[in-house]
Every structure is written in C-alpha cells, then in structure tokens.
C-alpha cells in the first residue's frame, strides 16, 4: 500500500479537485485492492489496476452528484457553446511556463490551479494530460459527446494558462 498510496491519492485529488473526497476515494480503492489481494500480490500490473480503479471510482463518486444536475449543466453548456470550437485565445501563448521552478513548486501551482477549474473542464483535462487518455476514451468514460470534450479541454487550457502564469509570477516574486 505504501508504494502506491501517493499515486492513488494524487490521481483522485487531481480528478476530484478536493482532498477530503480524494482521501475517501483512496480508502475505498485500497479496500477493493485488499479484496483482490490474491490476484494483485503477484501481478506486475497492480499499479495500472489501482490507477484504473481510482479513476473509475472518482468518476462514479462525482457522477452521483453530476447526474442529478446534468440537465442544468447541459443547458448551460449548450447556451455557452454557441461557437462549438470555443473562443479565440486573446493572448500570446508562451513557449514554456513554470520552467524555472522545481518539480515540487510546479506541482503545488498546477494542483492549486486545477482546483479552480469547474468539474466539466477539470475532469477531461486531467484525464487527457495526466492519465493519457484519448479524446474518444474520455468522451466514452464521461458519457458526453466528443465535440464537447474537445471544447471543454480547450477551455480548460485557456482558463489554466493565466492561473499558472499568475501563480508562477507570484512565486518568482516571492523567491526573489
């Protein structure tokens, strides 16, 4: 458990954007792992199994609430998605960002910025960038259209960039 607990907690926390929920999910993941211990103890894919179960449990956890309010979110997103490709980026995209910070500093800034995104943007973005799923796999997992997934990820990136730039700038100022 000690070998995987950081990975499981980290996956759940980045997806859920909430540490309390992530701890509940991580607990459930390890209880399920205990129930399958005879299969996992000698498996070389135990890490992959744990990551998949964590991802699925987190999505189930969030969808308990999401399903009840899907009507509103779909209505809202339909209204907002007048342009199906999303808005133009109205600022210059830098070549690198947070490049001069340590991995720990970058992780803290990225996690804080991810928590500020709404669920419908954070989930597909994390699944794409951190879990290496394709757009189609994300659309299937979240049970929404491929177009909406692409739009949500584009918007999430566009929302994340200024948050990272602000935080990175603030960190640079503090460090200097």
């Amino acid at each position: 458990m000690r070998a995987y607990q950081d990975m499981v907690f980290s996956t759940a926390a980045r997806l859920a954007g909430n540490e309390t929920q992530a701890e509940d999910i991580a607990q459930e993941v390890f209880i399920r792992a205990y129930e399958h211990f005879s299969d996992l103890r000698s498996s070389v894919t135990a890490g992959g199994w744990l990551k998949t179960v964590t991802t699925n449990l987190t999505l189930n956890y969030l969808s308990r609430y999401r399903k009840r309010w899907r009507l509103f979110s779909e209505l809202r997103s339909t209204a907002e998605d007048g342009d199906s490709d999303g808005p133009e980026l109205d600022w210059e995209v830098p070549d690198t960002i947070l490049a001069d910070l340590s991995a720990e500093q970058r992780a803290a800034i990225v996690d804080a910025a991810l928590r500020q995104l709404p669920d419908h943007q954070r989930l597909p973005l994390v699944l794409y960038h951190f879990e290496d799923l394709s757009y189609q796999e994300i659309a299937d997992k979240l049970n929404v259209s491929l177009t909406k997934i692409k739009t949500d990820i584009r918007r999430a990136r566009a929302a994340l960039l200024p948050l990272l730039q602000e935080s990175g700038g603030a960190r640079d100022t503090l460090d200097s």
């Binding site: 950081d6 509103f72 960002i97 960039l161």
Partner: protein, 160 residues
C-alpha cells in the same frame, strides 16, 4: 498565428509544465483509515454484509424462502378468492371482472374527450404552460439550493 496553431502551442506548453510532476503525498492518516475500515468490515456478522458476500448456503436458503413466500401468497390469495369452486366457475368469476373494468376505462376516456371539447383550447394551453412553469420552478429552486448548500460550502472548503 492562427487559432489552431495557438491551441497546439498551448497544449505543448501545458504538457511541458505538467511533465515530471511528482505525485501528491497521501495524508499520513490514510493507511490507518484503511486498516481501521477493514477491521470494522471484518467484524460485521455475515447478515450485515452485502448479499454477494453471504455464505452460499445462506444465499440459497434465502432465495428458496423468498420463492416459497411469493408462491404461498399468490396461491393463498387465489384460493381465498375462488374458494372451492370448480375451474369453469372460477374462470367465469375472473372474467366477470373484465367487463366492469373495460366499462370504467371507457367512461373515463369519454369524460376526458368531453372535457377537451368543452374547455376552450386557450385554457388547456394555459394549464399546460402553468404546469411546465411550476415544474421548471421546482427544478430551479432545487438547483439554487444545491448550489447554495452543497457547491459553495465545498468550494469554500477547497480554499482552506
């Protein structure tokens, strides 16, 4: 730079920023929580855990008892209603319920048709619109309550 190129550049920039990020450290209490929960679940008697984890003999017995209860209820009800009548009489008794039932349904349908003819269409559309409005208002109140009582407090907690 066009929109597509800007999007691709942003994706690459973020990929670079996300690459090699360490995992977040799990809370020190996680291991103790898991062990405690496993001990709690292990201490539960078999009838308090999910049906899938019951002993096979208990599952079989439960299914047989349920089936016997359902059969006894159906047979008991039927015999109480039909008494000791022969089959043809019992069948006729059951059929005798069909005609009154169809008559009631037909009357209800006739009443509904008459009401549609008598009530002005404007009233019907107005009533329908009012019903939809009340339904939407109910959802709106629910959404407002959800955002106020659930989403905002949890968002506030994230900032701590």
């Amino acid at each position: 730079m066009n929109k597509h190129e800007a999007d691709q550049k942003l994706e690459q920039t973020l990929k670079q920023a996300f690459s090699g990020l360490p995992s977040r450290r799990a809370p020190g209490t996680l291991e103790a929580r898991v062990v405690s929960e496993l001990q709690r679940r292990a201490a539960l008697p078999w009838w308090r855990v999910s049906f899938a984890n019951w002993p096979v003999s208990a599952r079989v017995a439960f299914v047989l008892i349920c089936a016997a209860l359902v059969a006894a209820t159906i047979l008991g009800g039927a015999s109480a209603y039909l008494g000791g009548r022969p089959w043809n009489e019992a069948f006729a008794l059951v059929l005798s319920w069909v005609h009154p039932f169809l008559a009631v349904m037909s009357s209800a349908g006739g009443l509904a048709a008459m009401l549609v003819r008598v009530i002005p269409p404007l009233w019907l559309y107005g009533g329908l619109g009012l019903g939809i409005l009340l339904y939407v208002m109910l959802f709106g109140l629910g959404a407002a309550a959800y955002r106020t009582l659930y989403l905002w407090p949890s968002s506030a907690g994230n900032d701590l």
